[in-house]
Symmetry: C2
DNA sequence: TCGCTTGTTGATCATCTGATCACCAGAAAC
DNA sequence: GTTTCTGGTGATCAGATGATCAACAAGCGA
């Protein structure tokens, strides 16, 4: 029992702030950004007033939640790994999407991202623009350069992306049963995609 | 100007109820089910109290919104069309997903479905279970029976489904730019999927 | 043990929100 | 024009919610 402390227990400001933020991420992921400060405080095991010693307003707390959830979600290594032509394209694609899924297939990320998207948060659009302009565009270029495949357009890349992300949506948003291990499913989606754009073996 | 009436204007109960329901669908799609009855009433151009002449509570209004949005979204004809083996499989698949997209790619449906999903509504799960158990399973069987394709498992079918639905998610949830005409994009996703599971031409 | 610092609390405020009700007024019937 | 029915309104209530603040007490230093 780590997060549970008896009432009145004094914590170092940094520790308390972290505790609140972690609790807020879990709470808002579950009930949405419209969740109340009282419910959140009760779940953490502190009084509602204490929240306001560490965050000036609920909006600021939500902002901190976004920052923690969105920050460093896209690994800077991915671009280099995608472009590493010493490895077969198929392996790079599979590897990327296994990594990507490992990064975003969490209850907190998936749901807060979706809540924020519905709320019209600009962060979502910026994040997805980066996914498209940087990662997917690069994947497309690597596929085109690999030889045996016809050059896919961006909509094809988004379709591949969607086929994989939708697995996380089914699991964490709609809470439907999905395979415990997503790796083979992801590999098969990637393989099917590549097979689907393979050039006919003429000449 | 149809929906705009001057204050105090009397409407037939059915017309007023329809007006409120239509307004509620549009309003809740935009701001979520947590939207207030006052804002909704103001948008419709009536007083908040009037809502309660037609709906006993906000929960009942939301229920009516669900009913209107969810009802008859899955056409009963689709199953027969999918199974109509007098037409080529490829054409049936393309046709189905063009129809399906036409049915669900609306601002109201996409967003209310997602709000409801995040809120844990059982309707979503029932709807998606039907999509999987009835439509996707049948599509899978038809593909397997068609001959030139390897039998896809249900995860493969969900991947195809996701690759197409994600287009609507990008447009209506994240409000990112997407092609105006989705038909060619859908056709290409279907074609790519089938090409991806085509048996090697041996013997 | 005492005193000080400051993390924490309970009470409270203003506002928002769902819901109710007495009363008003549009329009059809005569 | 008058009456009658009922759709519509403004006022209001109770509870919820974000935010504030004076007072309390945990824990450290002397």
């Amino acid at each position: 029992m780590d997060g549970v402390v008896r009432p009145g227990r004094r914590l170092e400001p940094q520790a308390r702030r972290d505790q609140i933020l972690a609790g807020a991420v879990a709470y808002f992921a579950e009930v949405g950004l419209g969740g109340t400060t009282r419910d959140l405080a009760q779940r953490i095991g502190i009084t509602q007033a204490l929240l306001y010693r560490y965050f000036a307003s609920k909006a600021e707390l939500v902002e901190a939640v976004f920052e923690r959830v969105f920050l460093d979600r896209l690994s800077p290594h991915w671009n280099a790994e995608i472009a590493d032509r010493s490895r077969p394209l198929e392996e790079r694609l599979r590897h990327f999407y296994r990594q990507y899924a490992a990064a975003i297939f969490t209850y907190e990320w998936m749901r807060i991202f979706m809540w924020a998207g519905l709320a019209g948060e600009a962060l979502n659009q910026r994040y997805l623009s980066r996914v498209g302009d940087s990662l997917l565009a690069q994947l497309r270029d690597e596929i085109a350069a690999a030889g045996p495949y016809g050059a896919p357009d961006m909509e094809a890349m988004w379709a591949l992306h969607g086929s994989i992300v939708y697995l996380g949506i089914r699991r964490f948003i709609y809470q439907l049963p999905t395979p415990d291990d997503v790796s083979p499913v992801i590999d098969e989606s990637v393989d099917r995609f590549l097979a689907g754009i393979r050039r006919p073996q003429a000449g």
